[in-house]
Symmetry: C2
Subunit: 471 residues, 2 copies
């Protein structure tokens, strides 16, 4: 790529910050906040990364307001950091060069639900739970469910996926269109509401997963699904990591359309037992869910049961009652929080990788051995139907040696995934922490291409600078 070098990124001087803050206050009044607690909260990530607060936080309410603040900042080279619900795990919302945190949490309108078309249009501050509550009476739901009650904007930015992805895909598959404020303040809509299009470059996908580095998402058009006639869930213990993973591979190959198939290693089961008051045997375990008609769900579950037995698993226990199902999935969603029970007082750092499913057993087993050999405390959970798993590490951050061992472990985990044709992150995103692995994953030429894209869209490097390609 022969594009010009990017504008070097620097922190705007105090006078500029003061002037822009005053401008913003004149225009947006008390929706402009400068107190340190709020600013620190906007540099917050669910991890151990050092907090780098923005200079100012603004709460826009409309696309036009976002455009206005972007134009103001662009004119003075002031960084902008789009902010959703603060559930980032890799330092996406830190402000290493200061700037304005654009908190879209007050953009909460569900603009339209098109039941016949199975889609809806919502503002970025709507959370997935709010959306699903709104949809329930219409018999519809939005399947992407990253555990935490994150905002749709953050889900599109990362791109999120999580437990239902094995059946319904990730945000990459479920966003039809976006309204985006570009770094020059222009407002675009990336696509129409038609389910398919081949009318030019795929702008929707350009922004999904761009982590706020290319623009601010201000409206999202999502695909919806009919609430399935029947939902059933169950738990199945296995004698080993490998047995559980092999059962997953055969299940996927058999075209059994599991809606969720989640792996918990022994440590995670222990944590979930403690935190969520379950009483599961402490052994590698799968949580499953099936969606469909009554007959179909039964048939699929029976076929899975047979596969589990073949790999030494079982008994496969059904949670037939809705409240048991809820309890089960709540426990899965609380995996992040439950990990703290393994080492009270420690800080957590959660990381994820994704490998082709044929390499999953090997990758998880090696990772477990690596954790144990490194003397670290960690639980493994995974969206194993996609080959994606997470390691939640409990770390005493006051112990520099342990921090160093943890960093080294994460490096080896990524290296292991890459050696298996996998990726350094399946769904957490790059943020600040995974930038250093991108060249090994993509090669220098592809990384140059990413830089060229960033420069083309954001030539003055004002959108969430210091992330992904780190211009």
């Amino acid at each position: 790529m022969n594009a010009p070098q990017p504008t070097p990124r620097f922190r705007p001087d105090d006078a500029t910050v003061t002037a822009i803050t005053a401008e913003l206050q004149k225009r947006f009044g008390d929706r402009v906040v400068t107190n340190l607690a709020v600013r620190r909260q906007h540099g917050h990530t669910l991890t151990w990364i050092e907090n780098q607060p923005p200079d100012v936080v603004v709460y826009p309410q409309t696309t036009a307001e976002v455009s206005e603040m972007v134009r103001l900042c662009a004119a003075h080279g002031m960084p902008l950091i789009p902010f959703g619900a603060g559930t980032s795990l890799e330092g996406h919302v830190n402000a290493p060069y200061g700037g304005v945190s654009v908190d879209t949490s007050r953009m909460k309108r569900i603009i339209a639900v098109h039941a016949e078309d199975l889609d809806c249009v919502a503002e970025p501050g709507v959370t997935r739970k709010e959306l699903n509550e709104h949809l329930r009476d219409l018999g519809l739901f939005f399947p992407i469910d990253p555990g935490a009650d994150v905002s749709l904007a953050a889900m599109a930015g990362t791109p999120a996926s999580c437990t239902n992805a094995v059946r319904y895909g990730t945000m990459k598959d479920n966003v039809l269109a976006l309204t985006v404020v570009l770094p020059n303040g222009d407002v675009i809509r990336t696509a129409r509401r038609a389910k398919k299009s081949s009318a030019g470059y795929d702008l929707t996908r350009l922004f999904i997963g761009s982590e706020g580095t290319l623009g601010v998402i201000t409206e999202i058009t999502l695909k919806l699904h009919g609430i399935p006639e029947a939902v059933s869930a169950g738990v199945c213990p296995f004698p080993s990591i490998r047995a559980a993973c092999e059962a997953v591979i055969v299940t996927i190959q058999s075209a059994i359309t599991v809606a969720r198939i989640e792996f918990l290693d022994e440590m995670q089961v222990r944590a979930s037992n403690l935190y969520s008051k379950l009483s599961l045997p402490e052994t590698p375990t799968l949580f499953l869910e099936f969606h469909g008609s009554d007959a179909n769900v039964r048939e699929q579950a029976e076929r899975f049961g047979e596969i589990a037995v073949e790999y030494g698993g079982g008994p496969f226990e059904w949670a037939t009652k809705a409240e048991d199902r809820t309890r089960l999935w709540q426990a899965r969603h609380d995996a992040y929080w439950s990990a703290f029970t393994l080492r009270p007082g420690a800080k957590i750092t959660a990381t994820d990788v994704c490998v082709p499913i044929s390499r999953l057993a090997e990758c998880v087993e090696e990772t477990r051995r690596d954790i144990d050999a490194s003397g670290l405390v960690a639980a493994i959970v995974g969206h194993v139907g996609d080959g994606n798993f997470h390691v939640s590490l409990l770390v005493d951050t006051d112990d520099a040696g342990e921090v160093a061992r943890t960093e080294a472990f994460i490096g080896r985990l990524v290296e292991r995934a890459l050696a298996m044709e996998g990726t350094c992150t399946g769904e957490h995103g790059v943020g600040q922490k995974k930038m250093k692995y991108l060249e090994a994953e993509h090669g220098p030429e592809a990384l140059d291409l990413m830089r060229a894209l960033k420069r083309a869209v954001d030539p003055h490097n004002i959108m969430n600078p210091g992330k992904i390609v780190a211009l």
Copy 2:
């Protein structure tokens, strides 16, 4: 976007063409062809667009060879036009500025099939039929099926979708990764083989649907599916376009997982009866296919049958025998060719639009009325589960008045689709013929962004110039 202006595109002078041709011949011998018949065949599209042949056709066999020829051309500003199987419908492979047609039809290796991971890696010249023949013994298949036996490269370039998309998605959903030769000759791989990744910008999707304007695709990693245990297909006549479309909407909403749900209007049924020796009642008709377990397929088909009756459709007739099924879908795939029977001697121009499914009945009805009122001869077929339909117009191209009326009709069709939040093309792509509609569809700012992307990836505008954003 403030990116610099593109290099103005011009046809290279004769001396340059001669020198580059000589260089290519020295390197690639008789795989460099300059005779007019072959060159014209490489400017060929299945449409009435004027043929604009390239200066020279080259048949590379490896990624490294493609890289070498791209570097050579780049050094002299010589255009390159990636060529697959020549099935373009909108003038994608025309060479308005001359240049080198890069014909990847001899890159035919299926490099790897990973049955456990349900993916494979293939070269771009492999056609979908060749791929499926290779996969059959493994119990796997690749579902995207655009009727014609097109190359995988062309399918990724467009992006193709067609009959199975309602269940399996389009190429956008089924390509895991690409190897691409960039306009500077660099070779990149857009992603790893993991099923999910959030490691940076989505380079895969950047190239899918880019119609050869950003690089040459030289390897494709595709998602595969297990061949379903049971497949059943059937035909269902309806009293009106609206009744058929309403039945489709309810079917999709009911989460009946049809694998194919295809609409043929009265004229298309007549054409298919004539061409494919069927004896269907000449009325709006749906062709359907269900994939699943025996029990599941039966259950879905029964549920569809009930819906059809509600909308006055039926009888819903099953093609239980494999040969009847094949005959049915062959007839559907031959729709393009069958249309000629409606007006022997005429030329065909096929166009497509896609609208939200709630607007489908209205859009197809208005379009049918418009065809009739314009005194044109045309058949309508559609992948109606996605709101996507095609009009095959039979035109006497010697009649300037009729040509003008046809062009005007296409303009109204696009306008109608856009007014219904649809797109000017669901799957045929932009090529030369739909460029003029992109601004109305996307707005000037989004189109500027597309131009900025093109400039960033191809600053000297050598890749398939004069297409999509027309730099």
